[in-house]
Structure formats: structure tokens, C-alpha cells
Symmetry: C4
Subunit: 500 residues, 4 copies
């Protein structure tokens, strides 16, 4: 093999790795998908200072903060209107938040958490409270003055300023500019449900954008209120709500390339722990959100969370995929809806992760999803796993052997999770923290996922379950409405090979 | 079970109930869907003072006013152009309305009715009379000066100012602002046939918006002039006309969440009494419009209405669902189009109603629709009935027992209806009135639906036909092209239970 | 039956008839669909003064003028650019039109014909000649100064000013206003291929609008360049060209209600005589265009037209349907694509015609279309024929008996047509003329279709072939890729009945 | 046969030939589709002066320049930002391009090649480098000052200025105007992936426009990131990337008529030589791009190209079709997806080429494409081949006999191609050059394709393999995922016939 071919390949790999040069949005935040908690899925409008403070204490106590769940986000229904005698600034509901929002923010900050709030790019919020349309500067300044670190910005009652990318982007850009002008770094999370193709314009305005209607706690039930399905679902002008998790996962399959450091496809807040799905379904749900590089916002009532659900949310090996420093979404390599084994689709998703071997070959995440009503054996060939790499059909990686690591094998036992919950204080046994990536804020034992991966932590890499040979394939029995999730690593012998 | 779990649940239920905080549109009208009569379906352009006055007399005489049918709405074709020597104000047709419109309005007001008129957000009305585009302030002032209480505002000949939410909403907002500026409360009813997604912007402009092309008096016949069907019908840029009632009901299934007090999905005026459908079909039609919280505008010739049709329109138990103070549209829980039992779809719709038991559990309306060409037995499980409640698949309500009440069981007999018609003067035996809700105008024996429901009136609650056990289901034989409609109420033993 | 019911019915019928009150577009032209000839389909850019003059002579000589074919329209490719030293006015090609356009117009006027020309709402015409975008006033004045009576206005090279109704309508309105400002009545024919829903805004701007891509001389062959088919074809953002006649007829089925006096759906110029279809197909084609109230522009080379084709184009009974004074398009009552009798669809179209009986009941046109590859017997029930009349399923007309008249039975014999062609001078045996409707210009023996129909001319009414009984149906053997076309007239006994 | 019929036919043929009168875009470039090389498909961001110079040398050395591959285009990732102290002009990356871009351009010019560069109509390029939105004049001047001859202009990070033809065309027009204002002829190549229908507005702004998402080196694999397929693919608002070559070919089938001299549908850069497809697939790929009149930009690493791939890219007979002076895209005459012979579609494409016989009949290119998984025998009837000619079904050409020439028969042997590569210097045995057409720049032995075709060069006309008789058809065995490509020429006896 000629040297020039080798040089070209090396250069190509380097070039791909260097594709992202500057920040998408200028605020420097969300270099990996944001993590945290939001009250909506479990509480809707039933919000209060007490809820936030209790939740924050438990986020710390259960070790979730130290895993990266950093933002405590208050959703809709917190306001009591505007103060006409004070520049029409927003007023917190004095019953729900008797000490005001600054005090809540301060409580969060004391716990080394961050505080998120909510408003709406319309006349009203979805809950019919005051919206920020026309009040962007005032409200951005108010949020900054309260010490807010995060804004979820919704789309209800938008007065018809929609139906076109230019109109919608302008409406959202106005608030983004206002937030930037405050000087305070505030993570900006668009909640326009995928209307008007936010993946085309969101990345220069904000840190994430919802790309579908609201999630509902179910696997795949069709609901007319979330009407877009299948291969045509990329063009959904009525995003709706009550969307199943497979519906959302299907919709993101079309736009995975839009995710990048600083700017993410938001698949909506997690339902893990809300009781509507089986354990296998929740495992699949968390795995899906992880590989698609969605923000991971816990949507359950932390105060009553079940041990088995905590043991999903605190799986550092799965979180490490989501928080991988390369910041590239996995993509769907195939989906089959054959009638074999009954109705339901099976899918393969794979994606690049930063190499943890010190060689030139990226690690790879592999997610097999079984939508059938029974457990089946599924296959993923190396050709399919690496089908995104040129040349198609003959990727070099398919001719290598790979170590296979099961990312769910080390899931915390229910007993241990129950003990943590019972003690109301976790042992913080997982010394990795997503938020350390951008900030280096923790001067304790916490390590960023990037550093943890670099140091080959087996906590983050999962359990070795075997090897896949060159041109081989991975077989796995996948439970009904479930998933298996693997990390592939180049075997030592292959790490520095020049060519195949 | 822990107290905190119970507290959270209580809080959640309360939060849902308090979601709606402020008026969608500011005029304070239509807190429940408007009710009344409109001449178009039966008379089209054949309008006159005589028609309106005769109809108004019979609306009162047949007891319909006292049921809530309050607005007498004159549709298109009433004008004789503009008066160039008087600021281009609109001139009523002197032959059709020799005394002018103020006199007609006054006639209505004397009868404790309200008067509605019609114009168009275009150069011409659909009937090619003068439109209001560019004359909004003048015309709003004219309507107010005549004592008009309601404006239906159409979409013909709009000069191309459409095709985008921003453009259409601006065109309709102009008239809304002009109406508000008159100082007279005028219910504002958009008639843009669902073009440019009015459910996204209508609620901050108006009290209702048409969400489909014009109704035609038929069950389900396809007509190319109303081309959108099935699961893709949510995105219909050619609304057309000659839409069957099942076509419209399908279209509203996608957007039921947009209905709220003060702002309703308008499914178009009723066809009950116009002769195109069977009695079973009309019963289903009225039931559908009721649960979807459509405005209920009678579209028949009241002067020649048949007794069996009157006995549909005056069913207080069904109207009470439409006028329920919670103001939440039912939603479609499932639709099956299997070939079993022949062609045609079967559907289940359910929705929350304000509790009439004094406990914490909402009542529930259940509508089973049979589109098959023969009577069949249908089933609705509690799981499906309450599938909208979190957690999905395990709603607490499914583990309770419920009283089942048939809302059509107490339908007035044809004999009695015939007697009322013959006397040309109803006995006003139903002392409930929708309009009392917003205004408390009646100081007589009439009671609002809200108060009637609160007082447990069996007239409004329907006839008890049995009980459904926890985890059980409701079975009913549903006629061909027909429906059954039930109200579920928590049994006394369950009314105040904390948990299940 | 009560008198009031009868009165209501009478009123209803009268109301329908009086629906159209004012002109859609203000120029007073095209009260029935325009008729004439256009060179494009047969000659494309191969135009010259000689072609137009020879054609005009034969239009008169073959009796076509006296049937209403009045406009001789010159399509694209006539220009030699703009005259920079004369206000950038358009210059006719001096080789093709050595005497200039005024001379051509005068030639047409001398023959009692009218002269149409062509331009484009873009930078170039479709043939890459100078377009009128930005030159509207100049060009309108030029056309008026030349004595032009008709402008076909195309859509090529529109610089992106499209994709929205507001943008496109503005572009076309500019020329419409400029034409009106000249003071010369110029029929304005939009040729934007149905882009941006011209049926929504065309009627207040122009006299007709193309509603599909360009026609091609074939029955139903799919061509990717005209990609929209079937029930979804109403929403075609790529109108394309090479559209088959059944493709276009399908597309107009969705918007038939938009046709009205002064403003017509334009199905594109006729292909009759261009050799691509069979005689049966051309008969169906001409019948379709007639009932849909399309402008009838002959698209063949008149100088070489075959006798059998002339005998299609000069069928006064079919033209009388197109030129019926009521001006209402027929609609598709059903279309079946069952596999019975092989592939291909069968269709029924019916529509109201002004009564020719002196009674209150409209005449009715019935068109049965057979898209199968073999002749089949078809049925049209009175219920279906009158299904557009309320109440649906029980129209009064279905309970009457009707005279059935075959509109193709009196088609001119090939021998006679050949003789006319040979003589190069028709005998003008058909003394009816569409253009007399609007203008009363002919003081000879010609009579308008309206007057001819009023006088019960059997030439216009077709041949009586039988009677259809109340609740009955019409059976006909329809040839492969063909049509039968009937006029129904109320039988004398039923003409003045009050009710049924 | 009458003389007038003959005259009309002659006139018609002449008229068609003269349809294109003026330049679509005013810069006079790309009268035939541009040819050249672009680094993206093989190298992505791994660019350098060295790469371009080495490639340019080999383009000359392998004889590719003399075949017409003229433009060496540098894609994304070349910039180091803007120079704030020099009017914010763009700065080349000093490591990748140490001598600056002028030097590179000069290197190209010395080799009689032209130099292309890349920017983006957005805030960033797709690789997150500085975009030109808002800097159009500055950047156009910079490119001109560097001696750039070609600009590829991308669509990433466009800030939401999209979603409508008017908005997108304005964004692209701004740069086009800026390029024209420089006075330097710069070929302008839009890369907006078909968004907002650039075929409607691109031709008055630019020389070509991408009409699909990015190509991927595969035959037909579905990828959710390129979601539009089949008959509905004409309306793809999410162009995506990873589009297979058959996906792109399908998409262009709808808009073939938009291609014309100076303004071309761009099917994206070639994958020939990148290793993802079989030899048969690459032959089909190059044939497809040729007949669709796509720009032909080599996308492989020229320095490592395989002999068999060079022997595809240097097939002058196929290039001559692409560079035919008539400049008319072939169209798809049929596509069948029957299950016969297994899954996969078969297609026939044909198109007019300028006559090479001296007679009045155009040559015709015929491309048969086999998407099945096995070789099959395919048929193309003369009726289908000429189905685009009026009258449909009876084209005169179907009644003639035609010489059939195989355009791949004379493909260079692998041995010869290997020898050229080994010598690193081709013998330039093909004395035809596409670029001579527009410029006559070569005063050597090179001849333009137009002149070569006129002189009947067998190199350009392919190998005679037989004759097809009147009303006959062509049979060919087409390999799996492959194509055969023929040129039809009128036989001498038919060349000057008047009629048939």
C-alpha cells in the first residue's frame, strides 16, 4: 500500500474530527447535551418553591448531580402577571414562591446546581400565564437578575407569527439576543416542537430545540393529537402532543446530523419513573435519548422515584455515550417493519464516539431496538454498523475485530438503588460529572466524562462481553419493547494499523 | 401508601383543573361554546327580516332559547352595497330588511335573544356582496351601532392574503381589534375553514374558528371538493366544502386540545333537521358536535322542523356536555377501520367533565361511534376511556367503579315534541340555560348548566343504566351510522378515596 | 303539503340562482368561458402574421367564429426585445410580423374576431423572450395601443416571487391593474399553472387562471414531469407539464366551485385535432372541458384540421353546455377505480344548466367517462345525478321523470365537415354565437346561446333518446377511453309542480 | 402529402430548435454543463495547496483537462476567518494555503485550468467556518481579486432565511449580483440542495443549482437522512444528505425541463472512483449524470484513481452527450417497479441530441437502467423513445429506421488506463474539449464537442451495433445495477425525408 494512500486516510480522519471549528451559538454552553430535571411531566402546573428545593436536595443526595444532572428547571405556571408599576416586569406567584425566584436560584447555586426557568414566545404561556412576546428584553433582564441559568422558551399563543422559517426564527432570535445581551450565560432551550424546521436555524440562536410534539409516557400508541408517523414524519406541520417515544425517535432519525456541540436536537423530557412503561421500555427510552444526544432532563417525581428507575437514570456508562466529547448523534442504520415475529419495527442505530483506546479508530455505540411484542434475536453486521463511513459497503472498520461492551450490564442493582433512596443520601460512587466538561468547576474527586473516558474507566465503558470478528456481526436477544446497547472498541492489535 | 404520594396526586389534579388562568380572547364571551341558529344551511341567500323574526319567535316558543340557543345569526346576502355619501357604510338590502338591521336587532333583544351578522375578510363575501377587507373599522362600528352581538367573518375573495399564518392572522386580527374598539361585546366567529392553522392563533383573536370546509348533510360520502381524509387530514390546504360529518369529526381529532373557554374549534353549523341523514345519524352528529365542544348553531328551518329533530336539538343532557363548565374537548381514544363487520370505522371518544359528585374525580363523557353499515356491539374499556390520564395504561380511574348514565335515554318523545310544535309554544320544561353562565341575565327559574350540574339535576345527568366495575369495560349495541353517549360518574364509595 | 314549505323551496331555488351578484373581475368580460384559438399546442414558437391571418380566415370560413370561437391568440416568441430609445416598449419580431401587431389586430377586427397576445410575469417568457415583470404599465399600454383584446400571462422566470398566495397574487395583480388602467377591455388570462392556489385569488384579478401544468395530447399516461395524481393532486406545488387530460380533469374536480361568470378554471388549450388521441378520446376531452366550464381555445392547426375533428369542435349542443348562461361548473359525483373490467377509472360528472323548459327546474348535464380499456355499460342514478342538491340522498329532482337528450347524437357527419373544409367556407348553419352574450355585437342571424336555449333550439338541446323515470337511472354503453354526454330536462308534466 | 404540411413540420422543428434565445444567467458561462473536480467527496475538510496542485497536474496529465474537466474546485474548510483590520475580508488558512489563494489560482491558470472556491449563504459554512451572508460584496470582490473563476455557494446556517422561494432566491441573488458586479466572469453554482424550488428561480441568478441532498456513494439504499422517495419525492422540504444515486436520479426526473444552456440541474459531484459501488454501478452513475445534463465534477482522489474508474470518467462518447450543444436534458419515459425478476425498478430515459447526420432529425440518446439484483433483458420501443414528440403515440420518428450506437463500447481498456496512470501523463488522444465551446480558448489540436460531433467523429458517436427498424424496438441485456447507453442516428435514407 502506498504511503500517499495512508497519508490521505489519516488526513481524512483528522479532517472529519476537526469539522466543528467554532461555537454554533456563542454562549459557550451545552458543549455536551444539558442534563437536569424539569417538573412538567410529573407535576404540570403544580409547582412551588418546596418542590424545587426538595427535588434539588435529592438530586444531590441520590448522586444525580455528580452524574451531571445539573439544571433544575421550573416549567410553566410560576407567574402572577406583570408589575405595571415596575416596567411590566414579571412577578412570581407569591403563594407558590413566597421568597421570590432569586432565593430559589440561590438555593440551587448553593448546592452546586443551576436554575432554569420557563417562558413563551407568545402572548401567553401554554398554561395561559403571561408570555414574553414583545417583552423579550425586559424578561431576559429579569431572569438574569434572578440568577437564572437556563431558559426553556415555549411556542403557545404565538399570534400567528409562524408558518415560515424566517418568521419563527426571528421570534426566537429576539429572545436569544436579549439573553446574550444580559451578559449572564443562560442556556437557551427552544421549545417550538419542531415547527418551521428549527434544526435549520436553531443552532445559531440557541443550545437546543425541541424537534417534535410533547412526549407521552408510552411506547408506540398512535394518538391523533400527534399525527405524523413513518417515513413521511419528517414534515410535520402539526407537531401536537401525546407523542410516543418511538414516534419521537422516528422523527429524529431524519435530522440526526443537525446535533452538534452547543446545539442539540431535544427529544423532550424523560418519562423514566412516571409509571407508564415497563422497565424494558424505560431502558430503551433512556438508551435512545442517550445515543441521539438529546438533553437528558429527568421528568419524574424524584421524591418518589422507584429504585429500578433510579438505576436507569444513574447508569454512567449510558450517560457517557450521551456526554461523549465528540458530540455526534448516532443515526438509524436500518428499520424493518416486516410481519415476521408479529407487528412492530426493529431498528439498528449506531454512532461514533471518541476513541478510548488511544488509537485512531473511534469507538462505536450500537443500539438494537426491538418493537415486537416478544423477545427476538437480532443481528447487527459490522458492515451495517459502519455503513456511514466511506466507502459505503467496504468500510475499513468492518475488516477489523472489535471488543464488545454491554453498557447495561453494570446497571446498579435495585437493592443498592433502594438503599440510596432510603438513606436519602447517595454515596456518590460514580465520580464522573458531565458539567465538569465545560467548566472545571468541581475541585473534588469528580472527573468529567471526557477525562473518565480518557482514563479508561470501566464504569463508563461497560462490561466486556466478547469480540466481534472482522466482517462479523453481533447477535443479541432483545426483549419485547426493549433495547441492547453496546460500545465497540478497536482491539489492541488493530489500534494503530495503517490500513486493512 | 405514603402521605406525600397522596398529596402529590391531589396537587396534580388541582393543577390540571387550574391550567386555564386568563381569557384567551379578551371579550369575556363564549366561556362555553356559543349556541344559536344560523340560516345558511337551510336557506342560503334567501334571507329576510320575516325569516329571522319568525324563527326567533319559535326559538323562544319551542323552549330552545331556554336551553341556551341564544344567537340568531343572519348569514350572507343581506347587503345592498356601500353608501358612498356616508363614509362607505354598509347598506342593508331594503327589500329583505325594510326596517333596517337595528330594528331586527331590537326584535331579538326584546325576546332575550342576541343578534348575529356576517361579513367577510375579503373584497366580496362568498355570495359576491361587499366584503369588509379594508373597511374593518367602518364595518365594526356599523355593526355595533346596529346592536349586533355576534360576527361571523368569512374568507372568500381574500385577494391572496393567505397561505401563511402571519398573513391570515393579521387579516383576521384587524377586524377583531376593530370589534373590540367599539366597546360593545361582540362574539367574534372566524370562518376561514381551517386555512393557515387558525387553532394556532385564533384563540387570542376570536371566540371560535372554523377548522374545516363547509359541512354537507351526509354521513361519510367522499366528495372531491372536500379532499382531505384519514390520518393525513390534519394538513389540508384546500378545505373546500361538501364535507361529511365524519370527515369533519376526523379533522378535529387532531386539534381537540386547542378548544378552551372563550375559544373553540367550530365544526360548522348543524344539519339536524335538514333531511339528509337518518335519525341515528343525526343523533350521532349532535353527540359529536357536543363532545368536541363545537358551537351549536342550529342550521334547519325552525318553522318546519320535525318533532324527532326537535327532540335531538333539545336534549339537555347532551347539551350539558357541550356546555360543561370545564370546557375541555373530548378526544378520540381509538379508531379502527378493520374489515370486520364490513367497511366503515368505529371510534371511541372520551373527555373530562366537571365532577358532579362532589368528589375529586371528574365525570367522564364516553361516545361510541359506529360507522359500519350494520348495528354492532362495541366495547370501551376503562383503560381506554382514561388513557389520557398519566400514567398511561395504569390510570387510577381504571381501578374504580363508575356509574354509567345514558345521555340519550331521556330524549323527548316524538309525541311531546310534536305537541310543542303544534302549540307553537313550548312549556319550557327544561329550566337550564347556557347563557346564564356568562351573564346571570335570567332572574327567572332558569339555571345555568353549571348550576344545574352542581345540583345534580337528573335532566342533565341522563339515565342510570348500570355500573362498570374496576378494570371493566362498557358494552353497547350501537346502531348503523350511529352513536351511544354516556356520562360516567364516580360511585359514592369512590368519590373521596385517596388512592387505589 | 303546506304552502310555507313550497314557498321556502321556491325561495331557495331563487336564492341559489341569485348567488352571483357582482362581477368577480371588473372588466365585464368572459361572462361565459372565452372561446378561440391559440397557436401553442400545434406550433409552439413557429409563429407569423401569415399563420394568424390564414387561421383567422378559416375560423370564419369553417363557421367556428359563428359558434363563438372569437379570440385568435398569439402565444410566445413574437418579440424582438425592447426599444431602449422608446421607453423600453416591446418590439415585434420584424420577420415574423413585418407589418407590426396593430395591423394583425386590425385584420382580426375586420373579421369580427378579437386579437390575443402573450406575455409573462417574469424576467423572460418561457421561450426566453423579454418578460413583463417590472414593465407592466408600459406593456399594458403597448398592448392596448395595438388593439389587443386578450392577454395570456405566463409564469416562467419569475425570479422567485412565488411560493405564497400573497406574493404570486401581487405579481399578477400588478398587470391586471395596468390592463384596467388602459381603459381598453382586455380579457386577462392567468397562466400560472395552478401555483399558489390561483382559484383563491384569481377571480378578483383576472378572467381565468390555469389550474394545472401544461396539457399533453394523451389520455392518461403518467409522466414524472406532471407528478401529481389521484386524491392528493389538489396540492401540487410542482405543476409541471406533459399532463394528460384525465390528470387535469382530476385536478379540477377539487375546485369546480371556483368557476363563475367572469372567472374560470382554465384547463389549458384543447388538443382536439393534434393527432395524439383517438376520436373517442377527443370527444371525451371536449366534453370534459365543456362541463368544467374551461375556456375553449382550439389548439390545432386549423389549416390542416381533419373533418372528424372539426365535427367535434363545432358541436353546438356541447358548446351550449360550456356557454350556458348559469355559468356553473359541473362536479364529479363519483369516481371508481375498481379492478372490475380491467384497470382505469370510471366517473360521473353532472351539473346545473339554466332551465330550458320554462319551469322552475334547472336542466342538468350528465357526463359519463369510461377510462377502462374496453367499452362498458355504465349507470347514473338520479340520486347521484342530483346528489349536490339538498337534502342529500333525497333530492326532489330524483322523484321526477326527465327527458334525456344525447348531446353527441347530432354531431356533424364527417362528409359534411369534409365538404366545409374543402370549400374553405362553411355554411354557417349554426346560427348561435357565444360572443353575442356579452356584447350583442352581431346584428345578423346569429343568436346567443342564451337566446338559442331560451328558444328551445333543438340544435342546442341535442337529440331526445328517452326518458328516465322517477328514482330511475340512466344506462349507457360508453366506449373505451370515451364519454357520453346528456342533457336532462324536466318533463312537461313536472315543470311547474310545486312539490313531490 | 401536401406542401403546407411539410412546411409546417419544418417550421415546427426549427421553432423548437430556436426556443432558447437569450442567456438565462447573464455571465455567458456554462453553455454546456461545467466539468471539473471538487475535493469534498474524497477529502472533505482535508484540503491544502498541495492537494490542489497535485490534482491539477494529474488532471492535465491524465488527459482529463482536454476532455473538458476544467474547473478545480476547492470546497469548504479553507478559511482562517476574517481580517477585522482589512474590511473583514476572508483570510485563507495559512497552514493549508501558505502562499495564499491567488497563487493557487495562478497555478491553475498556468495549466489552462480554472479555479473554483466555496462559500455559504449563511452565518457559517457547513464546516463551521465563516459564511458570506451579509458579506456578499466583500467576499465577491475578494474572490475576484484572487482570480477565482467559480463559486460553489452553500446553504448551511442560513439563519432561517428560507422556507419560501422569495426569501431563498433573494439570499442567493445577493451574491450573484455581487459576483456580476466584480466584472470577472465567475461561474455561480448554487448549493441549496433543492430547497425552495431553485429550478424555478435559479436560472436567472446562477449557472446551476443543486436539486437534492448530498450524494452518497451507493446505488439505492434508503437512509432516513434523505427521506424523500418515489413519486412524491418532487416535494422534499428536508433534502438531507446520504442520498443514493437512484434517489437523486428519481428526484431530477420531475424537473428535467428546467435544464438549459447556462443553467443546469446539479445532481451533485460524482462518486466514480470512491469505492462504494461496483463498476456497473459507476458506469450507470456516469451515464445518468451525463443524460440529465448535470455538471460533471469528479469527486475522487485523482492521485489514487483506479484504471477502470479513469476509463469511465474519460469516455468521450458519454461526455459528448452531456456536452451536446443542444443542451436539453433527457427525461424518464417510464419506470416500472414490478416484482418480476425480483425487487428494484427498471427505467428508460431518452433525450434529444443535436443531429450529427446533417439531416433534420435530432440524434437521440437512450439510457436503459436496471435496478434489479440480476441482469435482465430490457426493451425500448421507438414509440416510447420518441414519446415526448407530438403527436404522442404516433411520432414520425417511430416510423423511421435508426442506426444504434453503443456509447460504452469504446470504453478505454483497463490496461491503457493503467498505462496512462503509470506514466502520470496521458497521451491526450481525445482531441475534444468541452471548454472550447464557449471560449475557443484552445488554438491547438483540441476541438469542441460541438465541432467534433459536427465532423462525425466516431470517438464521440460510439460504436455501431445495429439498426432498429421502423416501429421497432431495441433489446439489450442490462447488468444488475447497471445501464446501457445508446445514441440513435437517422439512417441516411431517412435523413431528409419530408414525411412518413
Amino acid at each position: 500500500m502506498s504511503m500517499s494512500f495512508q497519508a490521505a486516510r489519516l488526513a481524512f480522519v483528522a479532517a472529519i474530527a476537526s469539522l466543528v471549528r467554532v461555537n454554533a451559538v456563542d454562549n459557550g454552553l451545552a458543549r455536551t447535551p444539558q442534563m437536569g430535571w424539569n417538573n412538567w411531566n410529573a407535576f404540570a402546573c403544580d409547582v412551588s418553591e418546596e418542590l424545587l428545593v426538595q427535588t434539588a436536595d435529592l438530586i444531590v443526595g441520590y448522586g444525580l448531580r455528580d452524574l451531571g444532572y445539573e439544571y433544575v428547571v421550573l416549567d410553566d405556571c410560576w407567574s402572577a402577571g406583570r408589575n405595571a408599576s415596575n416596567n411590566n416586569t414579571l412577578i412570581p406567584d407569591p403563594i407558590k414562591f413566597p421568597r421570590g425566584m432569586s432565593a430559589v436560584a440561590e438555593d440551587m447555586h448553593v448546592l452546586d446546581l443551576k436554575f432554569g426557568m420557563y417562558s413563551d414566545a407568545g402572548r401567553y404561556t401554554c398554561g395561559m400565564y403571561e408570555g414574553s412576546l414583545g417583552h423579550e428584553t425586559t424578561d431576559a433582564n429579569t431572569f438574569a437578575s434572578w440568577g437564572v441559568d437556563y431558559l426553556k422558551y415555549d411556542n403557545c399563543y404565538n399570534e400567528g407569527y409562524a408558518g415560515n422559517q424566517a418568521i419563527s426564527s426571528e421570534r426566537y432570535r429576539t429572545m436569544g439576543d436579549a439573553l446574550n445581551a444580559t451578559g449572564r450565560p443562560i442556556l437557551y432551550s427552544l421549545c417550538n416542537w419542531g415547527e418551521d424546521y428549527p434544526w435549520n436555524w436553531g443552532s445559531t440562536i440557541a443550545n437546543s430545540w425541541r424537534m417534535s410534539g410533547d412526549i407521552f409516557d408510552m411506547w408506540d400508541k398512535y394518538d391523533a393529537r400527534c399525527p405524523c408517523e413513518g417515513k413521511d414524519a419528517w414534515n410535520c406541520e402539526l407537531p401536537g402532543f401525546h407523542c410516543s417515544i418511538t414516534n419521537i425517535m422516528n422523527k429524529v432519525s431524519f435530522i440526526v446530523s443537525k446535533a452538534q456541540p452547543g446545539a442539540w436536537n431535544d427529544l423532550d423530557m424523560l418519562e423514566v419513573g412516571n409509571g407508564g412503561m415497563t422497565d424494558d421500555e424505560y431502558v430503551a427510552h433512556f438508551s435512545m435519548w442517550s445515543v441521539a444526544k438529546s438533553p437528558l432532563l429527568i421528568g419524574a417525581d424524584i421524591r418518589k422515584i422507584l429504585p429500578q428507575d433510579l438505576a436507569i437514570l444513574n447508569n454512567a456508562a449510558v450517560i457517557a455515550v450521551n456526554q461523549d466529547p465528540m458530540g455526534q448523534s448516532a443515526g438509524r442504520r436500518w428499520m424493518y417493519e416486516t410481519e415476521e415475529n408479529g407487528p412492530g419495527a426493529i431498528q439498528l442505530w449506531t454512532g461514533n464516539l471518541r476513541s478510548t483506546t488511544g488509537g485512531r479508530w473511534n469507538d462505536m455505540v450500537v443500539l438494537l431496538i426491538n418493537g415486537k411484542d416478544r423477545a427476538i434475536e437480532m443481528n447487527a453486521t459490522l458492515i451495517d454498523i459502519f455503513s456511514d463511513v466511506r466507502p459505503k459497503g467496504k468500510p475499513a472498520q468492518a475488516s477489523m475485530a472489535w471488543e464488545v461492551r454491554d453498557l447495561w450490564a453494570d446497571r446498579m442493582s435495585t437493592e443498592k438503588a433502594a438503599a440510596i433512596i432510603a438513606a436519602a443520601k447517595g454515596n456518590s460512587t460514580v465520580p464522573f460529572n458531565a458539567t465538569a466538561i465545560a467548566e472545571g468547576r468541581f475541585n473534588t474527586t469528580q472527573t468529567s466524562y471526557a477525562d473518565g473516558l480518557k482514563s479508561n474507566s470501566s464504569i463508563l465503558l461497560g462490561k466486556v462481553i466478547g469480540t466481534v470478528e472482522p466482517q462479523g456481526n453481533i447477535k443479541a436477544t432483545v426483549p419485547k419493547h426493549g433495547a441492547v446497547m453496546y460500545r465497540l472498541r478497536a482491539l489492541p492489535s488493530d489500534r494503530n494499523i495503517d490500513e486493512l
